[in-house]
Every structure is written in structure tokens, then in C-alpha cells.
Amino acid sequence: MKLIDINQFKAHLSDGLSIMVGGFMAVGTSETLIDAIVETNVKNLTIICNDAGYPDKGVGKLIKNKQVKRLIASHVGLNPLVGQMMAEGSLEVILTPQGTLAEQIRAGGSGLGGILTPTGVGTQVEEGKQKIIINDKEYLLETALKADIAIIYGSLVDKFGNVIYNATTRNFNPIMAMASEKVFVWAEKYVDELEPNYIMTPHIFVDYIVKENN
């Protein structure tokens, strides 16, 4: 397990990366790591996140700073900038049902090719997708999703990289930690050791623990 500081985290960033960002309406998003990405000013990012955050919170900061080429999310309604940029053509947005997005990410981290969901059948979401009938019911084949990097918000992180999330900060963090090549976790609180039974993300998914000043 590697404990690194913000500058070392920045050294992993480059143009064109795909980044999974944990959080729901920016709760469970590490603003520290987002700010670091803003500071590096890397461009053409693909961001995978439940939503677009707010203009000055969460992934919204990256969007505002024009670092994002493509956003994969389920909801962008609370960030008016997104609608504007979509209309201008300066941001590509792939809207995905929230449950499907969760399944795609988990499939990516679990070595599955994809899953069959009834969600989106008969809507625009089915366009271009394979439909499979099982027991007379139609399902969409939704394929697995992975990323180069995940930034994870842990409420408690131990020195091994084990993570516990508090309350609704958990959201997409655990599955994103499984589906990315390099996983960085920032902690609200750094502790020595966590109770094995209550760990939500085991250390083997975490590549780096980032601490503001190490």
C-alpha cells in the first residue's frame, strides 16, 4: 500500500484519462482530489459519475474548467452548465439509468461481460443495444464499464487501504474502487486499523492512499 501526497497524485494524471468519481450530488466525492485534478488542468477527460454535481461542487468543477470531453452519468439536472455545454456541443453526455450505471461498473470490476436488465426497454436507452428475451420478458444487454482511474472518498481509511464509508457517502464508491486500473482513496479520517467484519472496500482494491500533506 502506498501512502502518497497530493503532488504525487497529480503525477498520475494526464490528458485523455477516464476517471470514475464516487459521490451522489457531491456527497461522497473527495473535493480535495477534484481540486487537484482542476489544478493540473489535464484535458479531454471522460468522467463517470452518478451525476454532474453542482457548478462549484464535485465533478461540476471539472466541467466548469472545461476539462471534460465526455460525461457518463444518470442525472445532470442540478448543474445548469451541463445543459448549456451540451447544446453548444462542447460536452458529450451519455445519460444512463442509475441502476444500469451501477451494474455496468460492478460488471467491469467483476470480470463480467455485462448484465441483462429490464430497465430502459421501450425507451431511447435501448437504441443500439442487443435485446434478449428470457422467459418471455425482454431485457437489454448492458456491457461492462471500466476506467483508468477511480477517486474514492473514504470516511475511515486504515493504513492498509481498507475503507469504511459513513451513511450515504457510500453510494458509487465501493463499485468504482473495483472497476478502475488505479484506485486513489482520500480519507476524512486516517486510522491504524479497521474491524475486518465492517470493512466495505477491502485494501486489495486500493492502490494509493492520498493524504493532503504527507
Binding site: H75, P97, Q98, R170, N171
Partner: protein, 222 residues
Amino acid sequence: MNIKEVIARRVAKELKDGHVVNLGIGLPTLVANYVPEGIKVHFQSENGMINLGPKPDLTQEHPDIINAGGEKVSILTGGAYFDSFLSFSIIRGGHVDLTVLGSLEVDEKGNIANWIIPGKLVPGMGGAMDLLVGAKKVIVAMSHTNKGKPKILKQCTLPLTAKGEVNMIFTEMGVMEVTDKGIRLIEINPIYTVEDVQNNTEAQLIIAEDLKAMEIIYENNC
């Protein structure tokens, strides 16, 4: 009492003891204020909690505890937190008894359109498509018309959120069921006539033989 309150109060009567319920953002959220006495309902929030409690006061609120609308909330005794992945297993897997959602359009086939107005408004579907497909019962709670234009149509004109999933529609004018034969008006707000309701509805309504007055508690005119 405004229109939203009328609708929320009537929808609340559909809640049954032990129900797992997911309320959409906006009007549907108000339903939680009118849970009938003597029953216990478990409100689920798709961002990862069950047994959602009321909005806490400033001293009680915690930045880690929000609902799907991003508002700070509380959790009741017996509640639990989980991740988005399990949350949608609950939703898609048929473990939600009832969902209440707002809508832009609904049609006589039970189709619903509430996630996009092409070229105008693109909020995204969030968890709505999963809720519509997965919840055992889908209730649409909305104003009957939009600036005088009907929202209950023969056929939705906007891109669908789900196909044939709506079970009931609650508006300020009445209560409707989606049946194989079309939309059936089963309760009417006594301040309107059947003609009023039909005139504000594009779909041809089937009028229940035992049409009842909408069971709402009127405190004043709306």
C-alpha cells in the same frame, strides 16, 4: 391548501402498513408528510438508505446524510445505509412496494415520459427508469395540466421513461387507474365535473360506475 398538497394528501392514503416506498423529487416528496396514523412505512432513498426520516433541524443535520434530491435528511430507528448497487437491487428486484413519481406526460397505455424535453431540458433519468420497471406499484402524482394543456394523453409525445408501467394517476382533479381498456376515473375532486376532467384530458376517460368523491381533507379551497 395548494394543488400539490391536495394531491400529496390523497396519495398518502395509498400507503399501507409495512410498505417500502420510494418518493420522487418534488411533489411526491410531500407525501411523506401525510402518512396515515397507525401505519409504518419504510421510505427508501436510491442514493442508499432505508427508513428515511424527516428533515432534521440545523443542530441535527449531518453532511453525510442526504436523500436522492440532495437534501439533508435523517434516518429513523431500524434504518440502514447501503451502496448504490444494493439500492438498485432493491428497486429493480421488486422489493419496493410503491413508488410515487411526478411526470410531464402519461398516456392510456400506462406509458410515462418525464426525463427529457429534447432541445430544451435534459435533466436525465436518474433512478426513475429503474423505479418504474422495478416497483410493484407505480403512482404518478402531478398537476392535471401544464399551462392548460393536457398531460394525460392518448399517446406520449416526449421520449418515454418506461413503457406500460404506470398503475395509477393522481391529480388535483381526481384519481385514475390505468386498465387494459384505458384510463378509468375512479375518484373526482368534488369541485370539478366529469366534463371538466374529460375536457382537460386528451385520453378518453372511462368513468367508473361507482365514481367516488376524491378522499381529501379540505382545509380551504384550492
